[in-house]
Amino acid sequence: MNLDLRLDTSGDFYARKFQPTKREDTLILNMGPQHPSTHGVLRIILEIDGEYILRAEPVLGYIHRMHEKMAEVMSYPQYLPNPARTDYLHGLAWNWAHVAAVERLMGLEVPERAEYIRVITCELNRITSHLLWWGAYLLDLGAFTPIMYAFDDRERIQDILQRITGSRLTYCYYRFGGVSNDIDDRFIEETRKQCSRMKPRFKMFKDLVTDNFILRKRVEEIGEIPADTCRKYGATGPVLRGSGVPYDVRRAEPYSVYDRFDFNIPSYDTCDAMGRYLVRMDEMQESIKIIEQALDTLPEGDYIMPKAPKKPKPPAGDVYFALEGARGKIGFHLVSDGDKSPYRLKLRAPGFSNLSLFSEVSEGVLIADAVSILGSLDLVIPEIDR
């Protein structure tokens, strides 16, 4: 057996740049882009000593699709389907960020009913996103069953959303000045039914997974991210809230009608994977609370502005709109020069910031823990690469 071949690191550009340290007994392990636990095409180069990780370096860009550049060559309505394709798990939030940024720049007044519809659908979408994360995370930890239970509920919510939005995953539902379809009584009834169905399911999830001894040992005190580290890297969303900072854009700078609802911002100061896990589990229940309140107080009226611009041409200027996605703060920085397409569009993807702290956190942990940490960050690679 040729030992040099085994330790051969002269792979591609990244592997060559990732030179081994002076220690001779380490191994360079290339995790991804095709690896079961990197969820898509994330690639991580690891230097390991036995099973302990000495260094980890994420390599990005395998699914870069120039979403920002695309905006510059498309008119505003043409870009509508794009944002949902960046983060396909919480597509409606991205869709919303785009339309809301344009609305803010143009000073459009969205009808109240449309805002309520947006809140309801976006929160439903948030639940599906968290459910999928939950299942996939448990898959990372080696349990196969939870993802099936998660998909049971997820499919039902997708059925509800499909009737209204027309799609199941990459939504293109919101329009400048409202939404593309009104919701009907059947939607309201089905959503209520689903909300009441979800509540006992959470207890089952808790019994099956959250309280499970093996799982607790796998996530408690694993991947501790102090709040300072989160601030340093700009991590937001459940990652930040799992570190004890109750920062949520819905509360910090309320957009739309979120200031009218009564909901909590769950946060845990354990800073570990369990904290992030519990934040997401609680968030699903808070989302259900929001949905039920919104359904109770759903106003009558238009679902889209009567004179919604078909071909918006925002005035010259720039605008920043941020909202809370399932993974954190989604930001749209739009610079317009008064033309029919943006001069420049900058997307702030929360996953990018959340991933960047991985290499600091994963130093000195086991491979299995690195997988657990990576899962607890809830990464969606197309969103990171954009």
């Binding site: 870009y79 389907p81 069953t145 049971d152 939005t165 799609s167 990459t170 329009r175 499970n212 001894f213």
Partner: protein, 179 residues
């Protein structure tokens, strides 16, 4: 210390049993699978499939489309292409239009000359390979001549099979309705 650790372990073992109970309960409960070829899902209402042409009120063989090209212009992925025959001034010339001039079209044209003649749709092709199902074409249509089909059972072996000729699809639908 030892007592605490023992207690924790015992509680942990109990949690494992609780987990096994959950899976046991699910083992016994009914299945939720839809056995596809034998049963189909019924929740296709509102599904945004590929687009199709809406027949006009007078003639089910004729689309409402006025060939304004709005959909072609708005489509983000440029998957719609349509061609239309420019209306000529004289009705006589129209009947000699260079298309296949089957009886359907002549029937439509006989009614047309009363009003200011509108462009006649010659072909309407949606390249479904590129479609991103955003629905902008449907919304941009001034006459409501496009709608979503709920055609989810699409499968093919070549790309060419997904280049949909919507005009002939419309005529097929109309024929089916007649029969």
């Amino acid at each position: 210390m030892i007592v605490k650790s023992l207690r924790e372990t015992m509680l942990g073992m109990w949690s494992l049993l609780v987990g096994m109970k959950v899976t046991a309960v699910n083992f016994k409960s009914t299945q939720i699978t839809v056995h596809y070829p034998r049963e189909v899902v019924h929740s296709l209402e509102g599904y945004r499939g590929h687009i199709e042409l809406v027949p006009s009120d007078e003639d089910p063989y004729k689309p409402k489309c006025i060939a304004c090209n709005n959909c072609v212009r708005i489509c983000p992925s440029a998957c719609i292409s349509l061609t239309a025959i420019k209306p000529k001034k004289k009705a006589a010339e129209k009947t000699e239009a260079p298309d296949s001039a089957d009886e359907v079209k002549t029937k439509g044209k006989k009614e047309a000359p009363a009003k200011k003649a509108k462009p006649e749709l010659e072909s309407f092709v949606c390249d479904y390979n590129y479609c991103c199902l955003c629905g902008l074409c449907v919304q941009s249509c001034p006459t409501g001549a496009l709608r979503y089909s709920s055609n989810v059972y699409l499968a093919g072996f070549t790309r060419q099979e997904f280049v949909l000729d919507l005009l002939s699809r419309l005529q097929n639908q109309a024929q089916k309705k007649e029969q």
